[in-house]
């Protein structure tokens, strides 16, 4: 048997040198005259171990990582093609604690095989959900998704099945499925990983959504910062079309569904669903007022399902294993699993899919292993640039939509950025306002003007000018933005700002040390 070597082609692994490792392995194979097959898989998401190279042995896969090009010679000397011991030896990948502790439903296949092999996809349960769906009535599919308790994983947490039901019930000669892959929130990379590591699961989810709602055309709107994901998705759509997964007869059924990949152009606000629709239509990515809901008048005025990548990619397993199977995971009204992305200043950064309900402390300390710098954790921002900063005192908060809302936070797209004790929370609050000013679409005043005034007011605070008055002003401004903005950009920017002020008041005091230092 020709040995198989798996080297991730995921952009996170590439950023850590996977291409150089692949080159070194190819050179070493040539030099030693060994014939081997190199498979470029996705990433399993343990980025602290990337580039993680795996070999297929008679006893199953054996992983090594993080591999540097300089390790390659000694890997061969240690007989790594047969799973031999080496300082980078990690053993069976699914036994690595970070991966073994996870519950992988949506990411069940991600990182295991060549993402563009439809055969590999099918060998691990792929297309079973779609096969079930084509034999069902649309309303039954919608019921199953509703009963699973799946809620929008983009951040808003709206029940996916209810959204689909609205589109199903709305008459239209043409309907659309739009996948929001404009994953602009810092600390999030779950969408990117799925698109690069298991693209067919997203295609399958979209096809199911199409059959369930009567939509025949899908668009995936991917941010331009993700060129690797765009390339993989384009190829995957082409392969799916050739294999009859997409087209006029999806899996040989009378259902038609096809899709296109579209690329954004560097506007964060296009992650907001209505600006995304405008952008797809070729307009400025300005937010639309709701109502009408996109489900009733969406893309080109037609009934449109707009869902996040992870929501759609979670549908195939629900259609394969049933609503009850999925619903059994989780807590309260947060059902199923959530891919938590542990990022920033953290020792064990990566993607951790698990049932809802872990506490923030378990995620940061036990799974994340604390900070990368080894200093104490000061704050963690949950939910991207529009999410609140949580202090250690709130580490008992369970990962659940409602529990986070109760503590004036949000789980958003489930990204977590860890900061050590060198973080200056006034600076973070200022950045939140600055980012809102840079990315505001300009349609509503609280966001467009409020963010700029926010930066100025926080600058006055930093300079020690009338601190009490300016603090009151920022608070009032945040209140206006929260309740007066059209969308989450202006409406949620107050979360990072106010949480910084509330939980870290010492950073906003005109400390003599701060003034003296400048």
């Amino acid at each position: 048997m020709i040995p198989r070597i798996y080297i991730p082609g995921d952009s996170g692994a590439l950023a850590l040198g996977a291409e150089k490792v692949a080159k070194a392995i190819r050179a070493e194979l040539a030099e030693r005259g060994i014939e081997a097959k190199i498979v470029r898989n996705g990433s399993r998401g343990a980025y602290f171990l990337e580039p993680m190279v795996e070999v297929a042995t008679a006893e199953g896969r054996v992983a090594y990582g993080p591999v540097k090009p300089s390790d390659v010679k000694s890997l061969f000397d240690s007989g790594f093609l047969k799973g031999g011991h080496h300082k980078r030896w990690l053993g069976a990948p699914d036994k690595i604690p970070f991966l073994a502790k996870q519950t992988r439903l949506t990411f069940a296949r991600c990182g295991i095989n060549d993402p563009l092999s439809l055969d590999a996809y099918k060998s691990l349960g792929g297309l079973k959900g779609l096969q079930n769906a084509v034999a069902m009535a649309p309303l039954d599919i919608v019921k199953q998704v509703t009963e699973s308790g799946l809620r929008g994983r983009g951040g808003a947490g709206f029940p996916t099945g209810i959204k689909w039901k609205t589109v199903l019930d709305t008459a239209g000669e043409r309907k659309y499925i739009v996948c929001n892959a404009d994953e602009g929130d810092s600390a999030t990379f779950a969408d990117r990983m799925i698109m690069e590591g298991d693209p067919f699961v997203l295609i399958e989810g979209m096809a199911i959504a199409g059959i369930a709602t009567g939509a025949t055309k899908g668009f995936v709107y991917i941010r331009s910062e993700y060129p690797h994901a765009v390339a993989v998705m384009n190829k995957a759509v082409e392969f799916a079309r050739k294999a009859g997964v997409l087209g006029v007869n999806v899996l040989g059924s009378p259902n038609a569904f096809d899709m296109e990949i579209r690329v954004g152009a560097g506007a964060y606000v296009c992650g907001e669903e209505t600006s995304l629709l405008n952008s797809l239509e070729g307009k400025r990515g300005v937010v639309r007022a709701k109502p009408p809901l996109p489900a009733i008048q969406g893309l080109f005025g037609k009934p449109t399902v707009i869902n996040n990548v992870i929501s759609l990619a979670s549908v195939p397993i629900i259609m394969d294993k049933g609503a009850a199977f999925y619903k059994d995971f989780g807590m309260g009204r947060s059902r199923g699993t959530i891919p938590i992305q542990i990022a920033g200043n953290v020792k064990h950064g990566g993607l951790f899919e698990t049932a809802f309900g872990l506490t923030l402390g378990e995620i940061v300390d036990d799974i994340g292993g604390g900070t990368a710098t080894g200093r104490p954790v000061k704050a963690v921002q949950v939910g991207g640039p529009l999410g609140a900063y949580f202090p250690r005192a709130l580490f008992d908060t369970p990962f659940d939509y409602e529990e986070f809302a109760k503590r004036d936070g949000l789980i958003g797209h489930a990204g977590i950025t860890v900061f050590d004790d060198t973080a200056d929370m006034l600076k973070q609050a200022r950045f939140a306002m600055e980012f809102c000013a840079i990315e505001s679409c300009g349609k509503c005043t609280p966001c467009r003007i409020g963010s700029t005034r926010g930066v100025e007011t926080i600058d006055r605070l930093a300079a020690g000018i009338e601190p009490e008055k300016n603090l009151a002003l920022v608070t009032d401004l945040c209140n206006t933005m929260k309740f007066g903005s059209l969308c989450a950009l202006g409406g949620f920017t107050p979360y990072p700002v106010m949480s910084s002020i509330t939980h870290f008041p010492e950073d906003f005091k005109p400390a003599p040390a701060r003034v003296a230092a400048e």
């Binding site: 952009s11 996170g12 590439l14 950023a15 850590l16 980025y47 602290f48 994953e183 602009g184 929130d185 810092s186 600390a187 999030t188 990379f189 969408d191 990117r192 055309k217 331009s224 910062e225 993700y226 060129p227 690797h228 296109e260 579209r262 690329v263 954004g264 152009a265 560097g266 506007a267 964060y268 952008s279 797809l280 239509e281 070729g282 307009k283 400025r284 990515g285 300005v286 080109f300 992305q341 542990i342 990022a343 920033g344 200043n345 953290v346 950064g349 990566g350 993607l351 991207g384 640039p385 990204g415 950025t417 860890v418 050590d420 973070q428 950045f431 980012f435 840079i438 990315e439 679409c441």
Partner: protein, 159 residues
Amino acid sequence: MTMQPASTEIQSRTAAIIQELKDLEGPLLPILHGIQEEFGHVPQDAVPVIADGLNLSRAEVHGVVTFYHDFRARPAGRHVLKLCQAEACQSMGSDAIAAKVKQLLGIDFHETTRDGSVTLEPVYCLGLCACSPSAMLDGEVIGRLDDEKIEEIVAEVRS
């Protein structure tokens, strides 16, 4: 200096791109990406051609071009270096990284070095948040930036 194609040439090449893409649903963004790929920026002379081809006003096309950060009004340097400045990278010292790169290149964000070798831009998230601080050089991703990697990058863009 980069040679600017003549106005008539811009118009004919733009028209060809429009011809190829205009039957897409919502063709304007794909067309603008095509034009930027062709010319390295979206030339002013392309705007009336697009407006004409898609039955839009010039103001509408101008409005779309200027809304998106990606579309350039003039060509970039031979290399484009994007440094992530979002929160996850901030937590790993992206501010200091940016300061050092700016100093080594002698330019600020949104500027191009005088020899036209490199344009420096901030980017808000490359989705490499567990490999912070990160950057993108001409579409290639780079994670866990440190002084050594910065010096390598600067040497590469300068050569």
